[in-house]
Amino acid sequence: MIRRSIVLFLVLFLTMPSAAHAYADPGSGLLLWQLLGSFLIGLSFYFRRIIAFIKRLFTPRDKR
């Protein structure tokens, strides 16, 4: 039941039309999204060797 409610909430949250912003800067949402992505990628920078090692484990030897 809880899982179903969460899924329903996510679907409604992501599919409902956003409010109209007549004077909104259309680029600001993209920039904020880029910043959030950059934050996560920036974190992965510190674990890049571990991530590369895990990736290598799942990469066939002939494709390395």
Partner: protein, 465 residues
């Protein structure tokens, strides 16, 4: 024109970029540096030379005083995103991203628009050298990311997933598609799944928040570690490149023109006869610039290109133009394929209608040979253009040669287009066609295609005789 750092002027066929005095210091070192010079040498960036001050003033006039003047290599037939199929838009995007990825630390692109790219034949060339800027190597953000998404990524994704041809997007919107506009087109599932989730839905949902915190969002960002900033930017560019490649690879439909040569009425003998007819002109007269109207698979464009001509090949179908571009790129042929409908050619666009000239402004008088094979009946019937106007337009496009195919109303393909309007074209026969042709051209050679009853004409423009 829009860049405060500089602008372009043409002086007697020479193309000069004037960098305004306040921006010379920021650009001169970068433009004369080894990286940009190497890109110019490889052809990835349009070549230029810095004009000595006295030569610049003599060429441009007093507005050059105190400015940095660059004389660019001229790409003689410019084309614009409103004429590119999906494949060419993706190639332009990939070219832009590769420049970002290859840039040395502390250098980047300040904008990312398809208008920074022109095609030399089928090869993309970056032309706006003032887009290169020095940047803080510790800054992990790319301010041009939003412009890249709007003007490359979203038009490509909407083309690939929803069949909205990207060239039509640029006819109406210079800066591409806003995420808010794309969002309204998407179904519920597309909104919550890649690639639209990250490029449309999340930016739309975040835009209200971003607007409230605009000062913080746009404040310069700086990390303590330049290597980390470079890692973030590389990841961003690689992600954009992957998304563009996935759009390019996605085939959303087959169409009738893609398989035209397999389904049309020509036999192999007819095709060979036509090839020999066109080939003879190319070998004997060696036209330098050829326009192939209704190029379809581009077989005659390749014939002309192999004879040394610079070819512009136009067709109304973006899918066949995309396929032709891929083939021309693979064979490094001097062919520029464009999505242009001769009955409704690309208009002049932009500020004062002067930012991008119309197709006819660029094409009229530029070509010394014009191919109009199996196309006149489409213009006549489908587009209802009078024959006299078609021939007059042909005479405006070519300075000398015209290869034109006459298709009679009895031809099965002509009949398919008529749809019961036979009476409208009852007057049309070879004699009537030759009278109209004769008003602007003199027929040099004519030949009946053995299998279809169609006629090929090689004609020379009267004022070129």
């Amino acid at each position: 024109m829009r860049d405060p750092a500089g602008y372009l002027v043409t002086c007697g066929g020479r193309l000069v970029r004037i960098v305004r005095p306040g921006y010379v210091g920021a650009h001169e070192g970068l433009l004369t540096g080894p990286w940009v010079q190497a890109l110019c040498g490889s052809g990835a960036v349009s070549g230029f030379r810095i004009l000595p001050a006295d030569e610049a003033v003599a060429l441009v006039g007093h507005e050059a005083v105190g400015c940095l003047c660059l004389e660019h290599d001229v790409i003689r037939f410019p084309s614009y995103p409103s004429e590119w199929p999906l494949e060419m838009l993706c190639a332009a995007a990939e070219h832009t991203i590769q420049l970002c990825l290859q840039a040395p630390p502390g250098v980047g692109l300040k904008d990312a628009t398809p208008f920074n790219i022109l095609f030399q034949g089928a090869r993309p060339v970056f032309v706006d050298v003032l887009s290169f800027e020095s940047r803080d190597a510790h800054d992990p953000t790319w301010l041009a990311h939003g412009q890249f998404v709007r003007s490359f990524l979203l038009p490509a994704l909407l083309n690939a997933h929803y069949g909205i041809p990207c060239h039509t997007t640029f006819l109406a919107h210079r800066d591409g598609v806003e995420p808010e506009d794309a969002y309204r087109l998407l179904g519920p599932l597309a909104r919550i799944t890649p690639p639209f989730l990250g490029n449309v839905t999340m930016p739309v949902l975040l835009s209200a928040r971003a607007e409230r915190d605009a000062d913080r969002v746009y404040a310069p960002k700086r990390l303590g570690n330049a290597e980390q900033a470079a890692f973030i930017l590389r990841s961003l560019f690689s992600s954009l490149s992957r998304t563009m490649r996935s759009a390019s690879a996605r085939r959303h439909r087959k169409n009738i023109w893609s398989t035209y040569t397999a389904t049309c009425t020509y036999t192999s003998a007819g095709t060979a006869q036509k090839t020999a007819f066109v080939g003879k002109l190319m070998q004997e007269s060696r036209p330098a610039r050829v326009l192939d109207v209704g190029c379809n698979t581009g077989d005659f464009s390749f014939l002309a290109a192999r004879a040394g001509a610079e070819v512009v090949a136009i067709d109304l179908d973006p899918e066949v133009v995309g396929s032709l571009w891929q083939r021309a790129r693979a064979e490094q042929a001097s062919i520029l394929p464009l999505v242009v409908q001769l009955a409704r050619p690309t208009p002049a666009l932009g500020w004062r209608n002067q930012e991008t000239p119309s197709f006819l402004q660029r094409a009229e008088g530029y070509f010394d040979a014009l191919l109009m094979l199996a196309v006149v009946h489409h213009l006549l019937v489908t587009d209802a253009i009078p024959l006299a106007d078609i021939i007059e337009q042909a005479a405006r496009l070519t300075t000398k040669w015209l290869v034109i195919e006459f298709v009679a109303p009895e031809d099965p393909q002509f009949k398919r287009l008529l749809r019961g309007r036979d009476a409208l074209y009852a007057w049309l026969d070879r004699a009537a066609f030759e009278v109209e042709l004769g008003r602007h051209f003199e027929v040099v050679r004519q030949e009946q295609l053995v299998d279809t009853g169609r006629w090929l004409y090689l004609a020379v423009k009267r004022d070129a005789l």
